[in-house]
């Protein structure tokens, strides 16, 4: 869906985006992570043809960007670095205007029902006549999402889509996006919120100072590590029994290397070590990201 090879953008001596090889597949929710200033937004802008790359290539739907912008962009819904709307027009009028700007000759009635539907989807009142300058930050954000969704595109490129929303709003939007993904929409989600990406993504890319330092499937990241956390009131006994396989000990718990948790349990219990809990250790996204980005 999105493929880049050696995508690079320099501003003077600064390499804002440095040889990035993105690989987003159809059906993915691709979490694009990175600290503020790591080059996420510049990358997104290059994908959309707003910023010109100094080197490298980008392909969307298998077509080169920005060369094929005219055929690629109509299939993308985008939210880039905050929503934008004409302040003196209503939310509905804004959507109609953006929809008409691309020269799509849609029937009036079709357009109207599409706009009503998408406004309802993002939780805005379709009959609201107020100009968008009276909107709260959260409402503007929802309108921005509506603008991205209004043409039902197969690919969404969303930069910080839940910015400015309250917890309930964040949940609603997450559900909406996951629902669209289940229905076949590929989502490229750029964010600095680990939790948001962890909850939604099937695949993750991590950008650090312009370089893509990690790109992996979420299932691989969250795969079991071969380590087991043993909770026990007798940690000394457990260590004595499992010496050589102990990775770390904490208060009332020991982390050991073990391939089979059931076997481990039998060994502990037959040796008289009391066990209150056993769980496989999984890496959190946060650990993985920190490992990948620490110099």
């Amino acid at each position: 869906m999105i493929q880049t090879r050696g995508l690079t953008k320099t501003y003077g001596d600064v390499r804002a985006v440095d040889e990035v090889h993105l690989d987003v597949r159809e059906g993915d929710v691709y979490g694009f992570l990175g600290a503020n200033g790591s080059g996420k937004t510049t990358t997104v802008r290059m994908l959309l043809g707003l910023v010109m790359a100094n080197a490298g290539e980008a392909e969307l739907f298998g077509e080169p960007m920005p060369k094929s912008a005219a055929s690629v962009l109509p299939r993308i819904g985008a939210l880039v670095e905050g929503p934008g709307a004409y302040p003196h027009l209503s939310g509905r009028a804004n959507l109609a205007l953006f929809d008409a700007a691309a020269g799509a000759r849609a029937r009036r009635a079709d357009q109207r029902s599409r706009i009503t539907e998408v406004l309802e989807q993002v939780g805005l009142d379709p009959s609201d006549k107020r100009p968008t300058k009276t909107y709260s930050l959260g409402m503007k954000q929802r309108l921005g999402l509506a603008a991205a969704l209004v043409r039902r595109p197969p690919l969404l490129v969303l930069d910080e889509p839940t910015n400015g929303l309250d917890p309930q709003g964040i949940r609603d939007i997450r559900e909406l996006l996951l629902g669209l993904n289940r229905a076949g929409t590929t989502i490229f989600l750029s964010s600095h919120l680990l939790a948001e990406v962890e909850q939604m993504s099937t695949r993750v890319g991590v950008l650090d100072r312009g370089r893509l330092v990690l790109q992996e499937d979420m299932s691989a990241i969250r795969a079991v590590t071969g380590l087991v956390r043993v909770r026990t009131p007798d940690p000394d006994a457990a260590i004595a029994l499992l010496d050589g396989r102990v990775q770390e000990r904490g208060a009332g718990e020991v982390v050991v290397r073990a391939d089979d948790i059931a076997d481990l349990n039998v060994r502990l219990v037959t040796a008289g070590v009391r066990v209150t809990g056993l769980e496989p250790v999984r890496r959190t996204l946060e650990q993985v990201v920190l490992e990948a980005t620490t110099p």
Partner: protein, 270 residues
């Protein structure tokens, strides 16, 4: 896209506020003339103004002479300066471009909408001034109007020439529109683009009054603006009018071309 830009222009409150403001000065002049009955001496003051006390139907032309040197170009500078930079400020430029609207089509649509603004603004000035002229100022002798050269023009001829004059004024604003468009692609601030354009206007006006700048004169932006008066000579003196139109077209080609060159590959970072 052109249709969308026109809708945006016409639905924008600021467009109409600007046009109302544009009508304020001619209206004040009409009221003052009507109350005091003191006109400028013939040959001084804005063109046609000395004649309107006797013939109120000439007031649209006088109003045009009043707004043309400063008010109209300033309004065009504001609308033109806002064209691209204003989209940046409302965070809408990037959303238009990813719709996608091609950058060339966007620029053309912006230029067309600036020209449309000039057309609407001058038409409103003309209509308002005509009404004011009939209400407050002298009642025309039905026989015809004395041309600038002293011969009499029939009302048919007058109408024809008035239409020509308004067309000329619209063309005369092309240069300002193109300069404002260029500056609007160069900065993210609509105000800066408008003020930069006004800077051009002031520079042109200053150089026009400077004898040392004699050799530059034919190329100055404002040089032929008031040549629309020549359309009311008998017969029409075309030289300056044609020069004026050619000069404006040259400005349009150079500055709109530069705007395209600048905008086509510019990084949109806001």
């Amino acid at each position: 896209m052109i249709r969308v830009e026109l809708v945006k222009l016409l639905r924008r409150p600021r467009t109409w506020v600007t046009i109302v403001a544009l009508n304020a000065l001619p209206t004040l002049v009409a009221v003052l003339l009507a109350v005091t009955d003191i006109g400028p001496r013939p040959g001084s003051g804005p063109p046609f103004l000395s004649a309107v006390l006797t013939d109120g139907t000439l007031f649209p032309l006088a109003a045009l002479g009043i707004v043309l040197p400063l008010f109209l170009p300033v309004a065009v500078a504001v609308v033109g300066g806002d064209s691209i930079a204003g989209e940046v400020q409302s965070d809408t430029l990037r959303y238009l471009l990813v719709r996608p609207v091609s950058r060339l089509r966007l620029l053309v649509a912006k230029l067309v909408s600036i020209v449309a603004f000039v057309v609407v603004a001058t038409l409103v000035v003309a209509v308002v001034a005509y009404v004011e002229g009939r209400l407050f100022l002298g009642n025309a002798p039905a026989t015809g109007v004395v041309s600038v050269s002293g011969t009499t023009l029939s009302s048919g001829e007058m109408l024809e020439r008035t239409v020509l004059a308004f067309g000329y004024v619209v063309l005369a604003m092309l240069g300002v529109a193109a300069i404002a468009l260029l500056l609007s692609t160069m900065t993210d601030s609509a105000v800066a683009a408008a003020l930069g354009t006004i800077g051009f206007l002031i520079a042109s006006t200053v150089l026009l009054g400077l004898d040392a700048a004699e050799s530059l004169r034919p190329y100055l932006l404002t040089r032929y603006w008031l040549a629309f008066v020549d359309l009311f000579r008998d017969p029409i003196r075309w030289t300056d009018v044609v020069h004026g139109v050619l000069a404006q077209l040259a400005y349009l080609v150079v500055f709109a071309g530069a705007a395209w060159a600048n905008f086509a590959t510019r990084d949109i970072n806001k």
